[in-house]
Symmetry: C2
Subunit: 125 residues, 2 copies
C-alpha cells in the first residue's frame, strides 16, 4: 500500500473555514505554517489538519470536539506537540487569547518497513 | 536525480555538539523537534541543521556565522521562518535569553516536476 499525503479539501482547510483565525505564516513545497489566534469564548468552524507539529506561543485552555466527543486540553506557552491528521472544532474555554503555530507536513509519510516489503513483493523478501 | 534527505552526522548534530542548549522536545518518523535555549553572550559550537521550520518562543538577537562570514539576525517572539539545511554557529548578541523551536523535516524533499520527468525517462515524456 503506497503512503498517502493527507491534504484537506478547500472546504476543510482552516484558512478557508476560519479566515479570521488562521493565516498562512509561511509556505513552500514541504510545509505550510499556519498561525492561529483567537479570543476567549471563540469557537471555530469544523476543519481538518494534516499531520502537523503544534507549537504554543501562548498558554491555552481549549475544548476540542469531533464526532460528538470532546476533550479539554490545557497547555503552557512554549511547548511542542504532534497533531496527527484529524478533523475537529475548538473552543477557547480559558480566560486569555490563544496564539499557536501549526507546521503542516505536505510530504507523504515515508512508508513503513512492512509497506516497503509489500511494494517489493515476495521475490524480494 | 533522486531527492536526498539531509541528515547531519553525529558530530554535526546540535544535540551532540551543544547538549546544554538543544534538547529533543518531540520525535517521530517524520520530524524531530528541537528546543533551543541560551543566555546572553553564549556561543554555540558549529553544527548542522536539516531543512527546518524555526519558531521563536522569545525575541532574539543573534550573530550567525559560517565559512568566515557572519550575519546578524534580530527577530521578535512568535514568528516562523524557513531554515534551509545548513551548517553554522551562533552567538547571542542580545540582552535576553533565547528560546526557539526547530521542526526538523526527516522526509526527503519531494522531487520537482523536472526530477520526476528525469526518472520516468524520454519514453514517458
Amino acid at each position: 500500500m503506497a503512503p498517502k499525503a493527507y491534504i484537506p479539501s478547500m472546504a476543510e482547510d482552516p484558512v478557508e473555514t476560519n479566515p479570521g483565525n488562521y493565516r498562512v505564516a509561511f509556505e513552500n513545497e514541504r510545509v505550510r505554517v499556519l498561525e492561529y489566534t483567537d479570543a476567549p469564548g471563540h469557537v471555530t468552524t469544523e476543519h481538518g489538519h494534516p499531520d502537523s507539529v503544534m507549537i504554543t506561543a501562548s498558554a491555552f485552555n481549549r475544548r476540542i470536539s469531533a464526532n460528538g466527543n470532546s476533550v479539554d486540553v490545557e497547555l503552557p506557552a512554549g511547548v511542542a506537540r504532534w497533531l496527527p491528521a484529524q478533523h475537529h472544532y475548538g473552543e477557547n474555554i480559558g480566560g486569555s487569547d490563544t496564539h499557536v503555530f501549526f507546521v503542516e507536513l505536505k510530504d507523504a509519510a515515508p512508508p513503513s518497513t512492512d509497506e516497503v516489503a509489500d511494494q517489493l513483493g515476495p521475490a524480494h523478501s
